[in-house]
Amino acid sequence: MSAALKTDAADAPIIRVRDLVKEFNVTRGRGGPPAILRAVNHISFDIRPGTTLGLVGESGSGKSTTGRLLVGLIPATSGEISLFGETITGADGEAALAKVRSKLQFVFQDPHGSLNPRMRVGDCIAEPIDIAGGWSRKDRADRVSELLETVGLPRAVAERFPHEFSGGQRQRIGIARALALRPDFVVCDEPVSALDVSMQAQIINLLLDLQERLGLSYLFIAHDLAVVRSIATDVVVMYAGALVEQAPKRVLYSAPKHPYTQALLDAVPRPDPDRVRSAALGGEVPSILNPLPGCAFAARCPHVMDVCRQDRPAPRPTGEGHVVACHLY
């Protein structure tokens, strides 16, 4: 599906998430009933074709879980995920997922764990093809060469094993694998976090180029706000499993509304020695194991009010595609 294909419904979202919840049962050491860990707490968002939704959050925010829910790696507890018109949650979810599977893909964080050390690079890249089946040997080989060229690696790489390559090269191989069956939507889970700074820029640029050339849509998960800024169209901020703010990129970075987003942006160190940062946000990320009632951020929020400790704020639109879950608004 190339970017040149524009229809009337060109802006209709291809990914729709409504009220998504994911809970894990955690067995407790000392006996007793298992505790419930709510990793994703009623989140909703859309992704439009050809755009990148940046998903930011710290540990425990639920961003990685969300990414995996979206491609069916983990089953949802409740809520709705619809991809390209197919609802993969609920009854018949499996069948729906099977229908759209070839349009979805995933790029992983760890360049050293995301490739099977026992398989040659060419076989790693061709795995989605092999699983789908029905390709001739020649077509398969041609596609592998094509993919290697797309990600900027020489053809000879296909005969080697992953351990012979550096982190950045392995990430390229992982991206080539993700592109094998020409997906339309790719979830990128911290794809550059494990790379050196000088390599991060190369991989981000590669992802941007591929998006333009191939009309891809991304869900780009990262904890590094600067990285997200370089690639996202819209940004969603998550905290302790909940969606706290969503906005188009420029709006989010220049005029964030949620106190957490503001604190997050402030806390990032800038390469500017003259900048004076305000005092760091105190407290810890709350446990998602036994969530207290009310807003998850209440304990650390500089603008906390009584209502915040009692009622969980629902995400509310405040105009221009900006959504905030905060009692201040």
Binding site: R68, F108, H112, S114, N116, R118, C124, I131, G152, E164
Partner: protein, 293 residues
């Protein structure tokens, strides 16, 4: 796209990293010592027919000859040449060792990956393995061997069953670790079936520990075959195996010590060789199989 296609000269694909394992093995003293010992024994076994002597031919006049120029290892109570018998014995004993290692490896590996992939099957299979492991391997083998009768293939089966649990455990442990790695998730995203994950991903990554374990099983099997033959449930005579020869020579241990000595020495040497090989393999393979930086 220019930046994406730049592979500046500094980004050389390190050709040095190829064949790393092979080179390390060649430099590892234990491994090479073990490899040479085993290689020599295998070659000797294969060359058994070259002696031109029939291992089963009895020459009554040459009974109980001590080692001499004519009979390098002496003769036994039937006048059979012990050197030839030991060489043919090597064929059988090494074959048994290999068969047991392969059989327990294959079945153990299958059980191991199945347990790792299907958690509900895991409890069932591992409890069965625990039950099998509760009995000392030799006793288990003796029991099974006695039940199956004194034949070569029952020896192989009995010994293999005794060692399947240990192999299964090792493969399962490795597979459980592998399962957590991201390339397994990558396969699942593309719709990989459990079969594919087990046999294309989990199993190959367990091959290192499996191989190491198999060398130890091989060594054990050679020793155990001797034990089984000793109590009469080994490969049936007159076919020579090292254990057979020792068993038959037991009655004459004092006067004709050479009957038991040479096959006994061969067993020790084979077991030693395999153990050294296994140690070397483990040293070289284990750290490499870890996700490296």
């Amino acid at each position: 796209m220019a930046e994406a296609t730049i592979l500046a000269s500094g980004e050389a694909i390190a050709a040095r990293r190829r064949f790393r394992v092979l080179r390390k093995l060649l430099h590892h003293r234990s491994f090479m010592a073990g490899f040479i010992i085993v290689a020599v024994m295998v070659i000797a076994a294969l060359c058994a027919p070259l002696t031109g002597v029939d291992p089963n031919q009895m020459r009554v006049r040459l009974r109980f000859r001590p080692p001499s120029e004519v009979n390098w290892f002496g003769t036994d109570q039937f006048g059979r040449d012990l050197f030839t018998r030991t060489l043919y014995g090597a064929q059988l004993s090494l074959w048994i060792g290999l068969a047991v290692a392969v059989l327990s490896g294959v079945v153990g590996a299958a059980i191991g990956v199945l347990s790792a992939q299907f958690r509900r099957l895991d409890s069932l299979l591992m409890r069965i393995m625990d039950a099998l492991m509760a009995a000392p391997a030799i006793l288990l083998a003796i029991g099974l061997g006695a039940a199956l009768g004194p034949q070569t293939h029952s020896v192989i089966i009995a010994l293999a069953v005794a060692y399947i649990p240990r192999t299964a455990r090792i493969v399962r442990a490795s597979a459980l670790v592998t399962r957590e790695l991201e390339f397994i998730e990558a396969a699942r995203v593309s719709g990989a079936s459990s079969m594919r994950i087990m046999f294309k991903h989990l199993l190959p990554n367990a091959s290192g520990p499996l191989l190491v374990q198999s060398t130890f099983v091989f060594a054990f099997a050679i020793l155990a075959e001797a034990a089984l033959s000793f109590i009469g449930i080994g490969p049936p005579p007159p076919a020579p195996s090292w254990g057979n020869i020792i068993a038959e020579g037991r009655q004459f241990a004092v006067q004709s010590w050479w009957i038991m000595l040479f096959p006994g020495f061969a067993i020790s040497l084979a077991a030693l060789g395999m153990n050294l090989l296994g140690d070397g393999l483990r040293d070289v393979l284990d750290p490499r199989l870890k996700v490296e930086s």
